[in-house]
Symmetry: C2
Subunit: 213 residues, 2 copies
């Protein structure tokens, strides 16, 4: 079967700690994600530093853009981001702005479907507008309330829209093969890596589970 890309969410705030964490897990993952709290805390300099240190990994900046899509996203693609996220709840005008910025640099836009009421309709609209990746995402606050992304993942995959489908929300060693088998093209692992005693060992274990598929 087609193996998904592995994305690690770097959800610490400290600049140097983020780079240290990235260095320890980069050999085992495909995409290094700068989390939303981290990009707001650190600014665009972290994108430049991360891409310079890891030119062979893709860098995703989880901007979760809500407005002014082109204006907000463009400098991040220019700084080295391979993927930038835009919120589905932002609406199609903002989504189109981020896609325009991505296309200007030959990069990719991911629509984060978090909290979108009609995910199928928005997914169709976004892919028709040129979005490259659909992100099925259960946020941290929703995870704390017991929610998971698995049912939504199946619903989006069943649409067969042709875009890559990314899944995020509490994925760990016990669920990564399940979401890969379901058809996710990108699996995002956060706390199961950055919260592990050894993030490198956890990333290596996830890589092994994906490679074994």
């Amino acid at each position: 079967m087609a193996k998904p890309l592995i994305q690690v969410a770097l959800d610490t705030l400290d600049f140097e700690q983020t780079l240290k964490l990235a260095a320890s897990v980069a050999p085992y993952v495909d995409i290094l994600e700068i989390g939303t709290p981290s990009i707001k805390f650190n600014g665009i300099g972290l994108v430049k530093a991360l891409k310079a240190a890891h030119p062979r990994n893709k860098v995703l900046v989880d901007l979760k853009t809500m407005d002014a899509g082109l204006y907000e996203a463009k400098p991040f693609y220019n700084a080295g981001a391979d993927i930038v996220t835009v919120l589905g709840v932002a609406g199609i005008a903002t989504i189109k702005g981020v896609i325009e910025a991505a296309n200007a640099y030959g990069k990719q836009t991911q629509i984060d479907l978090i909290n979108v009421p009609d995910k199928a309709a928005l997914a169709r609209e976004g892919v028709a507008a040129g979005a490259h990746i659909l992100g099925v995402h259960t946020g941290l606050d929703a995870q704390a309330a017991g929610h998971t992304p698995f049912a939504d993942l199946q619903g989006i995959l069943n649409l067969n829209l042709g875009a890559t489908v990314s899944v995020a929300g509490g994925i760990n060693q016990s669920t990564v093969q399940q979401v890969a088998r379901a058809g996710a093209g990108i699996v995002v692992v956060g706390a199961a890596i950055y919260g592990a005693a050894s993030p490198a060992a956890a990333a290596k274990e996830i890589r092994g589970l994906v490679d074994a598929l």
Copy 2:
């Protein structure tokens, strides 16, 4: 009549240019807002620099938090933000996290009602949870499509929830008195100040219009 506070949105990306713009308009406004694209571009250092330069103004950081409310917002209050925004579409768990962070520092949380389908219901839920300010907001991408915040402003004011109501979305010299008379407690002016040939002159003019009420 009660005069509203004037908030200026500092929507340039450049760090030094933002500080220069703030210095030119600070004497005429109450609240200095670091816009969402700017905080993502510059990071938390801009909050510290802006607050240090303008201790007598309030500083609003337009974080537009969508998830991980407490985790994302707390360092910004700690850095000197007087007001931090959270998206209404984030849902009540995330909103409560930002309010918890605000209360820990004796500061304020603003719920941005942008794109919230049922604004009245969310406004009631947010104020019951302790939100201090309700932001009626037509984004830049929606303004480009011809939308304004005026109808929504009246709807939120009519609820009489006791929270301060802020209004943003293309407000300028010709509309600032209208929204103030309607009952807005904070009027946000963006392009009409930062896009003016003389931002200081534009801010002084807005101040004169508010003081004349």
